[in-house]
C-alpha cells in the first residue's frame, strides 16, 4: 500500500505499486491535465516527485521533456509508476492542473410558448368506504375518466390509457390522504412520471454536456421561468481533455466506459442538486430532463459502445432522438422522468449543435446566415436562402489554451484581453489576478495585436532584428508580461510555435466556412449574419478575429455573439415539445459535408493559415 500526497492541492490518495501517478491522481479526483489520456504523448501531466520511490525516467519522458525540465526533476505523471510502499509526495505545477474554468451558462433567448412534453393533471377522488374498495390508482383514474375523455381523447391520452410503474405509484396513497383526496399527476405521453401535491410545481432540468464544460438549468415547467443556473468543468476531464482520449480509454480499458459514464452522471447529479438548492426545490420534483452534447459525450452519458465512433466513418449507435428513463441511468430525478436527447447529425456534429441552431433560429432566418460553435471541434452551419449545409472542423484545443506554452483555460489570472496602447501592451486578466497565462481570447488578441504592430508576418514568422522579439537559437518569442509582474514569477510569452498553433486552428475554421460557402454557390461577402456561439466565441474580440482571418471580413454589425446557445437550446427543448419535432425536421434538412476527404480542403487550409483578413487568392 502506497500513499501519494499531491501538492499544492493537499490531497492524499491510496494507490498500488504499478499504478502510474496519473492513475493515482485520477482515482483521487485530483485534476491533472492529460490531453492524450495518459499515453505519454502530450507531456501535459508534468509533475515533480519530491519524495518516494517511482520508476526511473523512460524513453517517452526523455523524448518529450527538455533537458532543463529533466534536470529540474520534472516527470510525466502518466509514465512515472509507483515503485514501492510508503509515501510519495508529488508537486503539481500550476500549468499542469486542469483548473476549474469560468463556465459559460448565459445566452441570448428568443421567447417561446410554454408547452412542455409533460402534462399536468389535477385529479381528485372520492374517499374509499366499506362499499367502495377500489384501489387508489383505479379510484383516481375512474373519477377523472369522464372529465378527461372529451378533451384528451384525440391524443389517446385518456386516464384509462395511463401506465404507471411501482416507483411512481409508491407516492400516490400518501399524497391522496395528505391532501384531502386531491393530487397532481405529471404524465409524459401515456406514462405516469410523478405525483405532486395539488399545488406542486413540476420542474425540468436541462444540461449542455460539453467536452470541457457543463452548463445546467432548472426550469419551472408551468411558467417556463429559469429557477436555477450553474456550470462546472466536465469531471471526465481527468481522463483526458479531448474526445479521442476519452474514446480511447472507453475502448481499450474494459472498465473505461463504465467509469466515464459514472463520472459524468455524478457530475450531472452535482449540478442538479446545486440548481435545486438555488431554487429551494427537491430534485425528485424534476419530471423531465434534456441533455445535449456532441456525439461522443452523448454516447458516454448513455453508456453506449463507442468503438464505432473512434474510427472513420464515425458512425453513432443512434442518430435519431433518444428517450430513456432518467432514474435507471442514475439521475436523482422523479421516479418516472424521462431523459430526452435530440438527434445527432453526422460525424461529430451532435445534438448540441442541433440545440444551438434551434436556440439561434438559424434555420428560420432569411438570407444567408452562418452559425458556428467554436471548440476543440468547431461545428459550422450555413443557411443559404433556406438550404442548410453543415460541417465539423478539427480546430484543436489552442483556443482553449492547450498546446500553447503559456496557455491556460479561462480561470483566474488568465489574460483574456490584450491591446496595444501608448507603444506598449496592456492586458486584462480574469478576476483581475496577477497574470499567469493566456486563455483563448487572450491568445487570439496576442496574435492579432503583434500582427497589427508588424511584429509577426502574414505567414506567422516573428520579425527579425526587432528589439522586442527575443531569440535564442531558432526559438523566437515575444514577452507579454515580464517575470516580475507575473503571478508565478515567470514571464508570460507568446512564441512562434504558439502562433503556429493559432494559425492551424483558425485555418481549419476558416477553410470550413469557405467550403460551405462555395458549396452553396456563394462568396463569403454574401453572408448577412454570423452567429458565434460557445464560451470562447462569446469572449473574443471580433475585430481581432477578423484581422487574423478567423472570420471573413464582414461589417461588425453582421456578427452576433450569443453565448451558450447549446445550453439555451436544451432549455427550449424542455419548455416546448414542438422544439423536439423541429429538431427532427432540422436534422433531416441539414446536408452534412465531410471536410477531411474533401478534394479542396487541403488547398483552402493551406491558404487560410495566412494571418490576413482575406487569405484567398
Amino acid at each position: 500500500m502506497t500513499e501519494v500526497v499531491f501538492q499544492p492541492v493537499g490531497k492524499r490518495v491510496t494507490a498500488q505499486p504499478g499504478d502510474s501517478l496519473l492513475i493515482a491522481a485520477q482515482a483521487g479526483g485530483v485534476g491533472i491535465s492529460a490531453v492524450c489520456g495518459g499515453l505519454g504523448i502530450c507531456a501535459d501531466c508534468q509533475v515533480r516527485v519530491l519524495q518516494g520511490a517511482v520508476s526511473p525516467l523512460n524513453d517517452s519522458e526523455r523524448d518529450r521533456l527538455s533537458d532543463a525540465d529533466i534536470a529540474g526533476g520534472i516527470r510525466l505523471a502518466c509514465q512515472a509508476v509507483i515503485a514501492g510502499d510508503g509515501v510519495i509526495v508529488v508537486d503539481i505545477p500550476a500549468e499542469s492542473l486542469s483548473a476549474p474554468q469560468r463556465s459559460q451558462v448565459e445566452g441570448e433567448e428568443i421567447p417561446l410558448p410554454v408547452e412542455p412534453a409533460i402534462r399536468i393533471h389535477d385529479l381528485s377522488a372520492i374517499p374509499p368506504s366499506v362499499d367502495d374498495l377500489r384501489g387508489d390508482w383505479e379510484r383516481v383514474r375512474w373519477e377523472n375518466e369522464r372529465v378527461r375523455w372529451e378533451n384528451e381523447r384525440a391524443q389517446g391520452l385518456t386516464p384509462s390509457g395511463w401506465r404507471i410503474t411501482a416507483p411512481v405509484l409508491a407516492d400516490l396513497p400518501g399524497i391522496l390522504r395528505q391532501h384531502d383526496w386531491h393530487a397532481r399527476l405529471i404524465t409524459n405521453e401515456s406514462d405516469a412520471v410523478r405525483w405532486l401535491p395539488p399545488d406542486g410545481v413540476p420542474l425540468g432540468f436541462a444540461v449542455d454536456v460539453g467536452t470541457t464544460g457543463l452548463a445546467a438549468y432548472l426550469v419551472d415547467l408551468q411558467t417556463g421561468h429559469t429557477l436555477g443556473i450553474t456550470g462546472a468543468t466536465n469531471p471526465q476531464i481527468v481522463y483526458g481533455e479531448d474526445v479521442m482520449a476519452r474514446l480511447t480509454l472507453a475502448v481499450h480499458d474494459p472498465e473505461g466506459r463504465a467509469r466515464l459514464q459514472t463520472t459524468i452522471l455524478d457530475g450531472l447529479n452535482d449540478l442538479l442538486h446545486t440548481v435545486c438548492d438555488q431554487a429551494g426545490a427537491h430534485s425528485e420534483d424534476v419530471v423531465d430532463v434534456v441533455a445535449v452534447g456532441n456525439t461522443a459525450m452523448h454516447h458516454l452519458l448513455l453508456g453506449l459502445p463507442v468503438e464505432q465512433l473512434g474510427a472513420a466513418p464515425y458512425v453513432p449507435a443512434i442518430s435519431s432522438a433518444v428517450r430513456t428513463p432518467a432514474r435507471a441511468l442514475g439521475l436523482d430525478v422523479a421516479p418516472g422522468a424521462w431523459l430526452y436527447l435530440p438527434p445527432n447529425v453526422a460525424g461529430f456534429v451532435g445534438a448540441d449543435h442541433v440545440a444551438m441552431l434551434l436556440a439561434t433560429a438559424t434555420p428560420d432566418r432569411p438570407g444567408v446566415t452562418l452559425s458556428l460553435d467554436i471548440g476543440t471541434n468547431t461545428e459550422v452551419t450555413l443557411n443559404a436562402h433556406g438550404r442548410l449545409w453543415c460541417c465539423s472542423t478539427a480546430s484543436g484545443p489552442a483556443f482553449e489554451g492547450a498546446h500553447i506554452r503559456d496557455g491556460m483555460r479561462a480561470a483566474g489570472g488568465a489574460i483574456e484581453r490584450l491591446m496595444w496602447q501608448n507603444n506598449g501592451l496592456r492586458w486584462a486578466t480574469i478576476n483581475n489576478l496577477p497574470p499567469v497565462g493566456l486563455c483563448g481570447s487572450g491568445i487570439l488578441d496576442a496574435v492579432a495585436v503583434l500582427r497589427g504592430a508588424g511584429l509577426i508576418s502574414p505567414t506567422g514568422a516573428m520579425r527579425r532584428g526587432h528589439p522586442d522579439i527575443r531569440r535564442e537559437g531558432h526559438r523566437s518569442w515575444y514577452e507579454i508580461v515580464p517575470a516580475h509582474q507575473a503571478g508565478h514569477g515567470r514571464a508570460v510569452t507568446i512564441s512562434r510555435a504558439d502562433v503556429n498553433e493559432v494559425q492551424l486552428a483558425k485555418a481549419a475554421i476558416r477553410a470550413g466556412i469557405k467550403l460551405l460557402v462555395e458549396r452553396a454557390g456563394l462568396s463569403e461577402q454574401d453572408i448577412d449574419r454570423v452567429i458565434v456561439a460557445g464560451a470562447f466565441g462569446n469572449y473574443i474580440d471580433l475585430a481581432n478575429a477578423v484581422a487574423i482571418g478567423l472570420f471573413p471580413p464582414l461589417p461588425p454589425e453582421h456578427f452576433h455573439q450569443v453565448g451558450n446557445a447549446a445550453g439555451i437550446g436544451a432549455k427550449r427543448l424542455l419548455i416546448n415539445a414542438g422544439e423536439r419535432q423541429r429538431a427532427d425536421a432540422l436534422v433531416r434538412q441539414l446536408d452534412y459535408i465531410e471536410l477531411t476527404n474533401h478534394p479542396d480542403f487541403s488547398d483552402r487550409f493551406a491558404q487560410a493559415v495566412r494571418l490576413e483578413p482575406e487569405p484567398w487568392e
Binding site: V251, A311, T459, H474, Q503, A507, N597, D603, A606, V609
Partner: protein, 213 residues
C-alpha cells in the same frame, strides 16, 4: 543558386509561398526557352530543399511549409506534361495515404507535397485508405508505401496493411514508411516498417535514404 535570374525568382517565389508569382515566372521561363528539367531542379526542387532545411532549423513552421508547397505544386502542374514529353524520370514512385479508419488529411498531404517537391512521383491515395488500395499501387509500380495515422485508434491499421502486403507476396519489393502524431520509431520497428519520419521534411530525407538516392 542558379545564375539565371528567372530561376532564382521562381525559387524565391516558392520559398515565400507566392503561388501566383511562381506560376507566372515559370511561364515566363518556359517562354524564354529554359529547359523544364532545369526549372524543376534549380527552381522548384532547390526551393523545397531550402524550405525543408528552414523547417528543420526551426526557422519555418508548418504554415510556411504549407504555403510554399502550395506554390510549388501550382508551378509543378505546368511543368509535368513537359517533363513527361522529355522523358525525365522521377526519383521513384511513392504511394501515400492515411490508413483505414482515419480521415486526417493535412499532415499527410503536406508530406505528399514535400515528396513531390523533392522530385518523387507521388500517388496520393487520400484518407481512409484500405490495404487493398495500397497493394494495387505497389502492383502499379510504387516502390515506397507511406502510411500516416493520427489516432491511437487507427494506428493498428498500419500493421494490418503491412500484414496484407506480406500476404500478397510483395513485401520484398516494397519499402514501407510510417508517420503521424502518435507514431514513434519504436512503434515503426514493432510493426515491421522500414522507416519512420516525425515530420514532412524528415520524410523526404527518409525516402531518399530508403531507396538509396
Amino acid at each position: 543558386m542558379s545564375d539565371n535570374v528567372l530561376i532564382n525568382q521562381i525559387r524565391e517565389a516558392v520559398i515565400d509561398g507566392q503561388a501566383k508569382v511562381a506560376v507566372a515566372k515559370v511561364e515566363e521561363a518556359l517562354a524564354e526557352g529554359l529547359n523544364p528539367e532545369v526549372i524543376l531542379h534549380d527552381g522548384l526542387i532547390s526551393a523545397m530543399t531550402e524550405v525543408g532545411q528552414l523547417f528543420e532549423d526551426g526557422e519555418f513552421f508548418v504554415p510556411e511549409m504549407l504555403i510554399a508547397a502550395r506554390a510549388m505544386k501550382g508551378a509543378l502542374e505546368l511543368l509535368k506534361p513537359l517533363l513527361v514529353d522529355q522523358g525525365v524520370e522521377p526519383l521513384g514512385k511513392i504511394a501515400i495515404g492515411t490508413v483505414k479508419g482515419d480521415l486526417h488529411d493535412i499532415g499527410k498531404s503536406l508530406v505528399a507535397m514535400m515528396l513531390e517537391g523533392a522530385g518523387f512521383e507521388v500517388a496520393d491515395l487520400g484518407v481512409d485508405v484500405s490495404p487493398e488500395k495500397f497493394i494495387a499501387e505497389v502492383k502499379n509500380g510504387a516502390q515506397i508505401v507511406a502510411m500516416s495515422a493520427l489516432l491511437t485508434t487507427t494506428m493498428p491499421n498500419m500493421k494490418t496493411t503491412i500484414d496484407a502486403i506480406v500476404e500478397a507476396g510483395l513485401r520484398s519489393q516494397t519499402v514501407i514508411m510510417v508517420g503521424g502524431a502518435p507514431v514513434t520509431q519504436a512503434y515503426a520497428e514493432q510493426i515491421g516498417a522500414d522507416g519512420y519520419a516525425s515530420d514532412a521534411s524528415a520524410a523526404v530525407r527518409k525516402a531518399h535514404e530508403l531507396i538509396g538516392q
